[in-house]
Symmetry: C2
Subunit: 187 residues, 2 copies
């Protein structure tokens, strides 16, 4: 039954990637390890060959989710330096409807405030990276002012997306996204 080192490393990566999606879809507390390992095509018993605890997986999955999310943000802004593109993609129905691959701050926000410091540190680093990424798009401003605007924009994006997922009225949900895109560009 033993697998090669490469296979084992591949399995580990698959678990982390699956967890990054499952946690965002069902929440951290809402995702059991057995269910999660099943989604990765394994039985739950093997979990502890790869991780010390669920807490450790939460940390690694958060890091993986952030990394994959940044990949998307960078792909949005690769051929188009405008903030508008970022807002349009972040505050889209597409993003709202796909929790599992979306922004971890919006998907896990209130839960992240309650996880262990190691994971919160990973989230903190991710937040700073996201703010920097946006601040660079606010050109023609002093660095401090650009950073301030970027901080507010990031907060508003995360808040708006979170609310758009809570709201029961689909029209209101769309309005939240649309108004967010429009108002953030006005600033």
């Amino acid at each position: 039954m033993r697998k090669s080192r490469e296979e084992a490393a591949e399995t580990r990566r698959r678990i982390v990637k699956t967890a990054a999606a499952e946690f965002r879809r069902h929440g951290i507390k809402g995702s059991g390890l057995a269910e999660l390992m099943g989604a990765a095509g394994l039985t739950h018993g093997g979990f502890y060959r790869h991780f010390d605890s669920k807490e450790q997986l939460v940390a690694e999955a958060t890091a993986a989710a952030l990394q994959s999310f940044f990949g998307q943000v960078e792909s949005w802004s690769a051929h188009d330096v405008s903030l508008e593109t970022i807002f349009r993609n972040y505050l889209s129905c597409e993003h709202r409807n796909h929790l599992e691959s979306g922004c971890p701050f919006a998907g896990l926000g209130s839960e992240l405030a309650r996880v262990d410091p190691a994971t919160r540190q990973i989230a903190t680093d991710g937040l700073l990276k996201l703010v920097d990424l946006l601040a660079r798009k606010y050109d023609g401003l002093k660095p401090g002012a650009a950073r301030s605007k970027a901080l507010l924009a990031v907060s508003a994006m995360i808040g708006t997306l979170t609310l758009s997922r809570i709201v029961t009225d689909p029209e209101l949900s769309d309005t939240l996204l649309r108004v967010g895109r429009k108002e953030l560009l006005k600033e």
Copy 2:
């Protein structure tokens, strides 16, 4: 052992109030009914004399948390019609540090996106009320424009407070709140 109707109603109110605080402090999934009933000074067995399910309590506790939160917002803005007062109080270290009595959208944000529709409807109504409350403070604007600004402000407030609770660096946390207050007034 039987209690009078008034006492029973009082007990029920106490459970809901306790739940409104416990859910905000530990999250919905993070609050067990036994722990919660204990915090209300009761044993867990009596829970089902008052509620059909935890889900029902979640709905009522969310409504209670929103109501108590609106009471605070209105007390902030009672003798001072300015938006600045609302931003200063909402985006305060005080508010950040007191999950249990604070804004339910910030405290439960990502969890609210996963609860049953009845509770999400309650949250939706609360959000609309909060947006209206702020929109009235944006005077000198057309109603539509005021509402748009209020929507963005509410999203930014909730996003900022959530992030300020995730971040591990206390200085960054304070900066998030300070920048939020400042930038929201600029608009």
